[in-house]
């Protein structure tokens, strides 16, 4: 229990530091939201009035703690640019970003698992080397190159998928998935490579373990041993990496969202930074930090699901080898 509290406290600290950091950063940026709102024809007096109206003439600390005070109560404030509640803006855009990120993760995980199993069953074979070459290629194609290429291929040449825009799930799952597929693929391609890499390496080393030999020595088939005995203990690093990558995908959908014109968090934050809309930026950043913490927690829970050894408090006596290996994996 106290452990849970400590974790929560730590997470809160991280979130406060992140949001304060971003508001501090943006306070150094030239230009102000009032200027943006008022546009070209603004007079300095108008700007001053608006800034007072928005409370931007107060010291940074006061502004920040005011924001924090409201944020703690669940009110992330209102964007001076759009006049919309930030909570609501996030709520509107979250499904898009979340779906893209989750779909990207699903696509890349499933591809990577299949490839890694193929690779690991015959390390250094022609097949393995072929797969490695393919994933190395994927690893080296950044999203901003993959995106236009996918659009060119699948939207313009083949016309199978929309080139841009979002169809919400209310319209129907089919159109929704069609709209999400290309962006998710563009974001997920790079991840396939890293997932494949860690899973392959772990599978290969697990397959060399005594317990795999022991299971084989019982007369169990190769496939059975691979999936029943070897797969779960090999998926630690995969879990760590996919947690990191999900966090990265959620924070980094900026490029895909820009490429495919998706109404997601990435767009929101890019726009808000450009418009010096600190309130929205803080809200989104806080939110991403929360998601990050959440993903970390999920990953920790995931470890427990994958491996009964970490479910309960770690045993006192652990062979030093096992400990150091875990450490390295983490």
């Amino acid at each position: 229990m106290s452990d849970v509290l400590r974790r929560l406290g730590y997470a809160a600290l991280v979130i406060v530091l992140v949001t304060f950091g971003v508001s501090l950063l943006l306070s150094f940026a030239p230009g102000s939201v009032a200027q943006i709102v008022l546009g070209e024809e603004a007079t300095p007096e108008n700007i001053a009035v608006l800034e007072r109206e928005l409370g931007l003439d107060r010291p940074l600390f006061v502004q920040y703690f005011d924001w924090l005070w409201h944020a703690v109560q669940g009110d992330l404030g209102t964007s001076p640019i759009t006049g919309r509640s930030v909570t609501q803006s996030i709520a509107e855009r979250l499904p898009v970003t979340l779906e893209i990120a989750a779909l990207a993760l699903i696509i890349s995980l499933s591809a990577a698992v299949v490839l890694a199993v193929l690779s690991a069953t015959a390390p250094n074979s022609i097949l393995d080397r072929g797969i490695n070459a393919v994933t190395s290629v994927l690893l080296s194609v950044p999203t901003f190159v993959a995106g236009p290429l996918l659009i060119f291929l699948f939207a313009i040449t083949i016309k199978g998928f929309p080139a841009l825009g979002w169809t919400s799930i209310e319209t129907g799952l089919g159109p929704n998935l069609r709209a999400a597929f290309l962006p998710a693929l563009a974001a997920g391609l790079v991840e396939i490579a890293s997932f494949h890499r860690v899973l392959r390496a772990d599978l290969i080393s697990t397959l060399r373990e005594d317990f795999v030999a022991a299971a084989r020595a019982k007369g169990m088939g190769r496939g059975y041993v691979l999936f029943r005995h070897a797969f779960r203990p090999s998926s630690f690093s995969l879990l760590t990496v996919s947690g990191l990558s999900l966090a990265r995908l959620i924070g980094g959908t900026i490029i895909v969202e820009a490429l495919f014109v998706l109404p997601g968090l990435g767009q929101l934050i890019t726009q808000s930074i450009a418009q010096r809309d600190v309130v929205t930026v803080q809200g989104v950043v806080a939110f991403i930090a929360i998601v990050f913490v959440l993903i970390n927690t999920l990953v920790d829970i995931g470890y427990g699901l994958i491996d009964p050894r970490v479910r309960r408090a770690p045993r006192v006596q652990r062979s030093p080898k096992a400990t150091s290996k875990k450490e390295a994996a983490a």
Binding site: A29, P30, G31, A34, Q35, I36, V37, L38, G39, E40, E41, A42, T43, E45, N46, V49, L50, E53, T78, P80, I81, T82, G83, R84, S85, S89, E92, R93, V96, I151, A155, I156, K159, F161, P162, A163, L164, G165, W166, S168, L259, V261, L262, P263, G264, Q267, L268, A274, Q275, R276
Partner: protein, 496 residues
């Protein structure tokens, strides 16, 4: 005054047919629909004419403005006061009356710095508004503004929203904006698709023809075309020559309108080096505007040769600039010898800015005693740079439909806040003032002076035409493009 003739689509298509849903892509995404929040005349015309209708409708034949939602919009004292009369019985879609009080409410709101309207500048030219009677509002200007009516289509003063709805606050309003336009708000996800449905109570029946509109804003030109090609849209707004060409070759219909004037380098006349007219002239001589334009428009050069397009009644064959490298070099050398070398920075904004800079830089590289360096800013400063005069050269547009409003504001010596180039030439100012004449001949004469002065003094070096238009599938008709706020949503229809 007059502009170019309008371009329109689907002439031989016959009578308009009702029904259907049109999917359109505009140039930008709205961040809200409260008129104080927007500045939307060329980037989101369909959205806003759909919600709020057209307050004034330009007559493309005469270049004059007819009344749309208003009954009359007149001045009798050279723009010192304006009388705006609304239509009898006209209501907003929530049933509240569209009357003089509603106009006063909306325009007063524009002036209120609390709302931070982007049109506050023009609204502030209004001193106050008197509600004369239910239908009539008297607009008293701070200084006589003869071009006020012409400015209307550019600014968001033209979007009149229901005061009752606005009273509920911006957030509420954006969830259900209420105007008196041809379409009603259906649903909207910010950055997503805006859905609108037909307003059965629209004053100008049988318009609108469409049952529904689905509008999305996409700022990237190429992506908009991609979407059209991949069948995601029926029509896209466009302002780029190369995209028009590509779209046409992909089998789409083009509807294109060219503004007078164009887009180009705005030189800061109040700051070295361009406070010296020779520096501006040297630059104008030095640049091969067609090749500059070719680079920027990706192979469809359109550097305007003259201030007015050939179809305009005010057209004169006075070239805006001539390419003469030798003269340019001489002037550069001369200035350098005087210790005033032409070393300037070009302010680069995200978007096309970098390309313009590259083109500029690679051309000037061939000359001696001139250098250009980039001054990168982010979008947030786009508005500030001009107002503050914090630049040497900057890409800006000097595009207009009728010269009275926009050109006056940009070039007149006493148009302080909107004259970003700080150009102050008494001769030009006098001619602009005199240009507000009702006599076409006198007008033409005065604007000839303006054109002569411009080709002599070069406050702007225009390198590309300012286009506005549409690419559509064969089915889309009724798209008339004539400058700001076009096409109007009410006119569009779909061939079943």
């Amino acid at each position: 005054a007059g502009g170019d003739t309008a371009a329109s689509s689907g002439e031989p298509a016959g009578e308009p047919v009702s029904g259907g849903t049109l999917r359109a892509l505009e140039l930008a995404q709205p961040s809200g629909f409260d008129p104080v929040q927007v500045f939307s005349s060329t980037s989101m015309p369909i959205t806003f004419t759909a919600l709020y209708g057209q307050f004034l409708v330009p007559d493309t034949k005469t270049g004059q403005y007819d009344c749309g939602l208003c009954k009359s919009f007149t001045t009798t004292d050279q723009g010192a006061t304006w009388e705006v009369v609304t239509r009898e019985g006209l209501t907003f879609s929530d049933g509240t009356p569209f009357n003089a009080a509603a106009i006063k409410y909306n325009w007063d709101r524009m002036k209120d710095p609390k709302f931070g309207s982007a049109s506050a500048g023009i609204a502030n030219q209004i001193d106050h508004i008197e509600v004369v009677d239910e239908q009539t509002a008297k607009v008293v200007m701070a200084v006589p503004t003869p071009g006020f009516k012409g400015l209307m289509p550019i600014y968001s003063l033209q979007w009149i929203a229901s005061p009752t709805a606005l009273e509920k606050g911006q957030a509420e309003f954006n969830k259900n904006p209420i105007g008196a336009g041809p379409f009603l708000f259906d649903n909207w996800v910010p950055n997503g698709t805006l859905k609108l449905k037909k307003n059965p109570g629209y004053y100008d029946a049988p318009k609108p023809y469409l049952d529904a509109l689905e509008i999305q804003g996409v700022s990237d030109n190429a992506q908009r075309l991609n979407a059209l090609i991949s069948g995601q849209a029926d029509t896209i707004l466009n302002s780029e020559a190369s995209i028009f060409a590509e779209g046409e070759s992909a089998g789409f219909k083009k509807v294109e309108y060219q503004f007078n004037g164009g887009v180009g380098l705005m030189l800061n006349n109040a700051k070295a080096p361009f406070n010296d007219v020779r520096a501006r002239q040297a630059l104008a001589y030095a640049l091969d505007l067609n090749s500059l334009s070719d680079s920027i428009t990706r192979g469809y050069p359109s550097a305007p040769k003259t201030l007015f397009t050939e179809g305009s009644p005010l057209y004169e064959d006075i070239p805006l600039a001539t390419h003469d490298p030798d003269k340019a070099q001489k002037l550069f050398d001369e200035l350098a010898a005087e210790g005033k070398p032409v070393n300037f920075s070009y302010t680069v904004f995200p978007g096309n800015g970098q390309l313009v800079f590259d083109a500029l830089q690679s051309q000037l590289q061939k000359y001696k005693n001139v250098t250009v360096t980039p001054d990168q800013r982010d979008t947030s400063q786009q508005g500030v740079v001009g107002t503050k005069g914090d630049y040497q050269a900057l890409t800006s547009s000097m595009a207009f439909v009728d010269p009275g409003s926009r050109l006056w504001g940009q070039l007149h010596g006493s148009a302080e806040r909107t004259n970003y180039s700080r150009f102050n030439d008494p001769e030009t100012s006098a001619a602009l003032d005199a240009g507000f004449s009702d006599d076409p001949a006198k007008q033409k004469e005065q604007y000839k002076i303006v054109q002569e002065r411009l080709s002599e003094l070069h406050p702007y070096i225009l390198y590309t035409a300012y286009l506005s238009g549409l690419l559509t599938t064969d089915k889309v008709h009724g798209a008339v493009v004539y400058g700001y706020t076009s096409p109007a949503a009410a006119d569009l229809w779909l061939q079943p």
